[in-house]
Symmetry: C2
Subunit: 133 residues, 2 copies
DNA sequence: ACTAGGGCTTCCATCAACTGGAAGGTCAAC
DNA sequence: GTTGACCTTCCAGTTGATGGAAGCCCTAGT
């Protein structure tokens, strides 16, 4: 398979696949004309990568997951651990975003949003703490 | 004020402040020894930037907000609009993360997490759609 | 045989938003 | 006069790609 074929199969752009080769996530063969030649297993790996990334795993996580995926004797605990850590990061991020959202929603709500210059949003950004003289 | 002072006041690292100067967000003066000299207004701007960034506004948003902040005749509607757009982006992002979280939580829950190699997480990553031969 | 097109190759640059580090100038204190 | 903190610039690296240029390669059509 050439790169265009695995790109279509995996849903990843060819550019991304080349990048994944660069960073050592896949190691396609080369045919005599210099073209990358992907085996079935490479296509599987790329699809795996696409799905892991879609779940927000970092490239390094993906690298570990891929190694575990290829290791028939891995313990599921190792995988679960990576996933759980990622889950925690996601939870943390969600909480952070919700906090931001709440503050911002409050400001947006407080702002008249008309032609006048008075703007609680700017006022808040300008003076929240450390500036109360 | 030297950079260390505004850094302490604004809570931003000196590196970041230099970077903000690079990209034209602040324009401190220079004293004869080449050191940056920050006025009160610069310190205010940096604090403003710190808070805007903490709310997740992009640098370009910050640039616009800062311009509006400095424009005494701005219409609050302009500010509100930027904030509302940002709010939408946040909502979108939160929804996305929640979706990821749900999928991942499901997988983590399904995985025994023991010494055995069977792992529903890897199985799912490996075969979800496009692979049912 | 020639040409047009599409696909493939490499390499280099760019994005966001910093951050780290090296090499070196400056300043206040002891 | 020398330490040590603070300042300067510049270059590289981070994460995860993405865009583009220059240039092979291959197939189909004429």
């Amino acid at each position: 398979m050439n790169i265009g074929d695995v790109a279509a199969l995996s849903g990843l752009p060819a550019k991304t696949i080349r990048y994944y080769e660069d960073i050592g996530l896949v190691k396609p063969l080369r045919s005599s004309n210099g073209y990358r030649t992907f085996r079935e297993s490479d296509a599987h790996k790329l699809a795996f990568l696409g799905r892991s990334r879609a779940l927000g795993f970092s490239i390094e996580d993906c690298r570990n997951l891929l190694a575990l995926y290829e290791d028939e004797k891995r313990a599921s605990a190792e995988v679960k651990d990576i996933a759980k850590q990622h889950l925690e990061r996601i939870d943390h991020k969600i909480a952070e975003m919700k906090q931001m959202r709440a503050t911002l929603a409050h400001l947006v709500h407080a702002c008249a949003g008309d032609h006048r210059p008075d703007c609680p949003i700017l006022a808040d950004l300008a003076t929240k703490q450390g500036d109360e003289d």
